[in-house]
Symmetry: C2
Subunit: 557 residues, 2 copies
């Protein structure tokens, strides 16, 4: 990206037209600041892919200009890409105390701790990079210690909200700093980037405090063990579970690696208060009276290898769910996870448990951490931006957010709905979206980063749907004829024992195809292979309506 | 199943602990009646499987006893298995006029029309099979012409509700016959089988009539074309769309094969009234003023090849969605389909359309066809059964339905939550669940029925996640050494061009493995293959954290 001197440019490398892998770039003149570096979990169409991270080739090309990675909060879609990012680029990371703790956990897992400068900031910090001056404001979200970012440039002020809601009765004094936001707005905002997750939802999101009273009530009524599953990162909700356990005189066991990790960091850093002696090990659970113990575990999204799933299928060594235990799913399934969550609920009922589940507003066991429409309008009203870029959402959310912006006075053509890679340039207070840089998905598969792509995934898709057929033929170079084979190996296609006739016909067809070619004096391997693929593919599709991958292997001796 | 003389047995071959492939079997002495023969769509874990139908081996073993297949209504999960069933068993089919029309469509597609006796019945019909006497009662559901089934046997009366709700202001006079149900209940019901789809939902389902007023309002407000997508089989909703089009003076085009088919059958058989000249062809749409035309199409569940998906991606030849057109999704995504539906909504917004979407109760554009809790309690109260078998639902739904039954007086141990294949035997008015017959899933994949199973699917899963590596080696029998290869073919594993070093090391490792074995005078192919798989699998996992399928191929010359 060739940027003019004294020009301001804004772009996303991830996070727009999607939920996940947030990464935003603000450049003024020759200084680049990155906001967030998230990951995204693949949907079922990305066969075998473990994680998706942003394509950072634009940053690699401009690495000498990068001054900082600012991280707004400690959720996976904002920090999950950091280890992969650091393997390519060494950039100092700025974040609050809890967020840094969670980043450190991640770097430790990847053996990267110590390689990069980690700088703790808070909402009063001020940072200068070239002619950019950054300061911050407190927001409230489903994890503590969140920041919005204000970037003052000679061209004007850019505000990035991070993830937020306006919870005015928050846990642990995590009030959104409305006064500071108002002041920023009064001083003039050139561009606002605001998150759009719940832009489709009318009204305002309920306070996290409401969840607390429902958890407490469930703990009171439970006659046996209570098992509660929620996102480990929702430290405020964890605090409410601790409070309910305390009030009902229960010990608390933690199950699930991320639950143990996050709770440990949160206690160490002062974001979670747990009385001494309350925490017990999972294997101690059974030694307490059931009405004196509770369990807090991961897996509320139905993840097959997480604690709740293993507990529900009696596949966890240290303790069991017994009849009349109470299981609480303190979350709402993210679209795509409903089936896995439902399967767990079925299993829990079969174990005889009392299960409290359903969408959060029905059970009162979950509230969203993201602003609804009225809150988004409040942010827009506080900031009064000249230009608006809705971020952090799929297209329909960005679209609805644009309508909200118009409803509170942002001019119609002053909202930019961008794709990842689209650049908004602002010069002399006029914003234009005209150019594009490289952006996209980088797939993490096993330890490989970027070593699978569309061709590999297309092959996996074909293999997954109809399997494959390997055909091995040995040809004599001198006699120009088949000396052994065809031998057929079928995987993922049909049961061999049920399909003997089919496979015999396959062999006959391949033999005939090869013999015909030989008699026409066609000996070139690639022609023989292509012809086998074509003839056999046609035959198999007619017979089975399947299109297995056909791999002819020719050995010449 | 060896049944005693004069004994009554009830079982499900599909439909319990699942939504889909409903098939229930009632046997008295030597006479078997089957109720429904449905199919089910596979979830994403069943790679490449097109359709799931019940395993009918129990029926094949008892074919001389089967007297009838009674079909309660024309939905896929009740009729979708019929073509596959008829290829194995020739059984007369009894159903109402519309249901038979939809079954005939299906048989025509499979070239089976005329092979089997199709007998039209209505709610006044009476059928006798041995000592069983069957009669029927009208119910209301999201498709017209639905029946409940009453089976009188010397042992007592068995009632099967079919799918139902209590819509007391229904479309087209499809009133549930509450008086007849009350009479059946008064005369005594031994066993009730009642559907459980919405057993988790409190209250009563709204009337289909409410949808009509919302559709009409949207048609009134639309300034351009209206495109409405719903289930083709919901003939009553289609009628309301026709009415709204009539009221707003719009022509109506139908897009999607099943929409055209179902509407044609419904008009022919008198379940749908469409004024002459109202229907136009899709390619005529653009020749009308946009405010004078509407489109009714399939694909409301986000099916990738259905009409709405193609329209939303501008991938449909005959007409286009233009800015300011109104698109209505008159349905709620079935769990698992949310992502596909969301993608379509995103695309529609990008085309500039006004999109009316969201859960049915919010937009008023959809109501469920299945009874909520209060309606299920009404059915249980009307029927006053001694024994209760909740059907048509996943475990948690059956479980909640059991609690509802208890709440209206069914004795706690008189409810049987069964699995497919579990038999409930009733003798001397006492029900017991003690034995099991073969039951399960038969997969339809292409034209193959039952030719894929767990091994094939396991292979597909491995192939889909990590791909495969074929290793070809040619060994000399006389010299006992490798004469050519190893040659490596990688598909769905890694990009070859990015992984040259890895693949070189693979070749080195295989060569060494084979040479080592040869020098130890180990020549047996299966040992060589096993050793290659083990060594190479270990190496590749260490290097890549992937586990591709490894297929060593040895040619001996």
């Amino acid at each position: 990206m060739s940027v003019k001197e004294n020009a301001l440019s804004i772009l996303a490398l991830g996070g727009v037209n999607e939920i996940g892998k947030n990464m935003y770039v603000i450049q003024y003149s020759n200084d680049i600041v990155i906001i967030d570096c998230g990951a995204k979990f693949p949907d079922e169409s990305l066969l075998g892919v473990d994680l998706i991270i942003p394509d950072i080739s634009f940053l690699q090309e401009n690495k000498e200009k990068i001054r900082a990675l600012i991280v707004t909060h400690g959720h996976e879609d904002h920090i999950g890409g950091i280890p992969y990012f650091l393997k390519k680029l060494n950039v100092p990371i700025y974040a609050t105390r809890l967020t840094l703790g969670l980043i450190e956990l991640k770097l430790k897992e990847h053996n990267l701790l110590g390689d990069t400068e980690l700088i703790q900031i808070n909402s009063d910090s001020k940072l200068e990079f070239g002619e950019m001056v950054l300061d911050f404001f407190k927001t409230n979200h489903s994890i503590p210690d969140c920041l919005g970012v204000t970037m003052h440039t000679p061209e004007g002020t850019v505000v990035h909200t991070g993830d937020f809601k306006f919870d005015l009765t928050p846990m642990n004094d995590q009030y959104p700093d409305i006064h500071k936001m108002a002041k920023i707005g009064s001083e003039g905002v050139l561009v606002l980037l605001s998150e759009s997750t719940n832009a489709e939802r009318p009204g305002s999101s309920p306070s996290e405090h409401l969840v607390g009273s429902h958890i407490e009530e469930a703990f009171m009524q439970a006659k046996q063990k209570v098992i509660l599953s929620t996102f480990a990162s929702n430290v405020n909700r964890v605090q409410q579970v601790v409070n309910a356990a305390l009030k009902t005189n229960r010990k608390l066991a933690l199950i699930g690696r991320s639950m143990v990790n996050v709770v440990t960091v949160a206690i160490e850093r002062g974001y979670l208060e747990v009385p001494d002696g309350m925490l017990i090990q999972p294997q101690e659970v059974d030694s307490y009276a059931p009405e004196r113990v509770a369990v807090l575990c991961t897996g509320s999204q139905g993840e097959p290898f997480a604690a709740l799933s293993r507990l529900s299928s009696s596949n966890y060594r240290d303790m069991s769910i017994l009849p009349d235990d109470t299981v609480i799913l303190a979350s709402t399934p993210i679209p795509g996870n409903e089936r896995d969550v439902s399967r767990i609920i079925d299993n829990l009922f079969q174990l005889g448990a009392k299960v409290i589940y359903g969408s959060g507003t029905v059970t009162g066991m979950h509230v969203s951490g993201h602003a609804y429409q009225e809150e988004l309008k409040l942010m827009l009203t506080l900031m009064k931006p000249k230009y608006f870029i809705p971020i952090h959402g799929e297209y329909r959310m960005l679209h609805q957010h644009r309508l909200l912006a118009e409803s509170v006075g942002v001019e119609k053509d002053h909202t930019f709905i961008i794709n990842n890679g689209d650049v908004v340039d602002i010069e002399n207070s006029v914003a234009r979206q005209t150019r594009k840089v490289a952006a996209g998905n980088t797939f993490v598969d096993g330890v490989g980063v970027g070593d699978v792509g569309e061709i590999v995934l297309r092959d996996r898709k074909q293999l997954s749907e109809d399997g494959m057929l390997v055909i091995v033929i040995t040809l004599s170079k001198t006699e120009r004829k088949i000396v052994s084979g065809p031998d057929t190996i079928s995987r993922g296609f049909v049961y061999v024992q049920n399909s003997e006739d089919l496979l015999k016909n396959v062999n006959r067809l391949v033999t005939k195809t090869v013999n015909d070619l030989q008699s026409e004096k066609i000996y070139r391997w690639n022609i023989i292979k292509q012809t086998i693929k074509k003839e056999l593919g046609q035959y198999l599709f007619n017979q089975t309506k399947k299109k297995p991958m056909i791999l002819p292997i020719i050995i010449e001796i």
